[in-house]
């Protein structure tokens, strides 16, 4: 009888621990200074606030997809480096990075690369405990749709949704946030490489890079919710460095409506991105 009681009490204890964890997820971070969105009584009364930052395939679409963009395989993080990533933080960052890489490759119908990067993403996702995402079925669907670019993008987007849903529903908000940062940094890295750090190479691409000062504050606000996590704290420091580079650039729209800034400041933004990306993919 005592054993049954012990088991029952342990069950209750587990229940209590999980309940505590769940209640935390419903708190609203009221900081609004950096994201500029006004937090009022309505938002404080909301059951939850989602920071819906762009997933890797949307980052690739926002930053890279335009008529004069080109595919350069050297810009991708090689999949052979996968085994270097041994911590949760490095795995999550590189799941985002590989996610943007496979989205970039899919835009240019580099189908074998897409399949290889999808398989690598699956392995990292499994190591992070995200099962049934980027799964065999998705990879088979990819192989069966090699000539259908739209369907490939839909398969990728559904894989990101599955991954995000798993992480959010299991309360792993930090991991979900780190994946997004990895994806965004990689998108910026590819865009900066394509621009050759030269404002005149492609004014549209330069403008899109400079427009990211809009996403950055939201990303920082989102991460600030979890800054007691040491890994997140370091990433926040990196994002603040990028943010400072944007503030210094103080971009303005030219006559054609494209954002522009001084060459030196643009160079500084891209160099900051390169330095941080290098640290993440090491």
């Amino acid at each position: 009888m005592n054993k049954i009681k012990t088991v029952f009490v342990l069950g209750l204890l587990l229940n209590f621990l999980f309940s505590c964890n769940n209640s935390e997820t419903n708190t609203v971070n009221g900081k609004s200074d950096s994201d500029s969105i006004i937090i009022n009584n309505d938002s404080l009364a909301a059951q939850k606030v989602f920071y819906s930052l762009p997933a890797p395939h949307e980052v690739a679409s926002i930053l890279i997809e335009h008529p004069s963009a080109s595919y350069i395989s050297e810009y991708l993080n090689p999949i052979e480096k996968k085994d270097n990533y041994t911590t949760t933080k490095s795995k999550a960052l590189n799941l985002g990075i590989y996610g943007t890489d496979l989205s970039y490759a899919s835009m240019f119908e580099q189908n074998q690369t897409v399949i290889n990067y999808m398989a690598t993403s699956k392995m990292i996702a499994e190591e992070l405990g995200i099962l049934q995402v980027f799964n065999e079925e998705a990879i088979k669907k990819l192989e069966g749709n090699v000539n259908n670019k739209d369907e490939i993008i839909n398969i990728i987007s559904e894989s990101f949704l599955d991954s995000d849903a798993y992480l959010i529903e299991s309360g792993q908000y930090e991991v979900a946030a780190i994946i997004l940062v990895g994806g965004w940094v990689e998108g910026m890295h590819i865009a900066c490489k394509l621009s050759k750090k030269d404002l005149k190479t492609n004014p549209l691409l330069t403008s899109r890079i400079l427009e990211q000062d809009q996403t950055l504050p939201l990303m920082i606000s989102h991460l600030e919710q979890y800054q007691e996590n040491e890994g997140i704290k370091e990433i926040l420091g990196d994002l603040q460095k990028i943010s400072a580079a944007y503030t210094k650039a103080n971009s303005t729209a030219n006559n054609e409506g494209f954002l522009t800034c001084s060459s030196k400041d643009f160079d500084h933004i891209c160099n900051t991105i390169f330095e941080i990306r290098e640290k993440y993919v090491k």
Partner: protein, 151 residues
Amino acid sequence: MKFKLYLTLILLIAVYQETLSQMDVGCKVFVKKGFSTLDTSTFTHDGRYNALKLSPGQTFEIYKPFYKTRNYRIVVLADEKLPGITFEILDVYRKPIYTSGKYDITQYYDYTPDKNQNLVIRVKVGESEKNKTDKKDTPETFCVGVLIGYE
């Protein structure tokens, strides 16, 4: 004897975690029902999971960057057991850009911003007369979700 106790404990934890993971299935399957309204042949889903279980009268918000000249479709859907939903799209100063009709189960709005901006999507579950008069201590919750697609 101790071995049996440990075995029972391990089994209990396994069953408990399995139950939890089943509970955590949450709203993913429900949200994917919105893909037809999103029209994935035209709009690519943004890959983000914005869904949770709510009871009548509750709200949630989404903050998202929107980019000029891109076409977006925002689909808001609620479980049919709920009395319906309303949603608003607000700018950073919370000035409404769009306010939906009242209390449908699935609604969508197509939007093409003329400038880059961070927006708030605010979703409220409606309250039926029955809900207003029949307040329970722990009201039942059902899935509510938002899908955002870009063209």
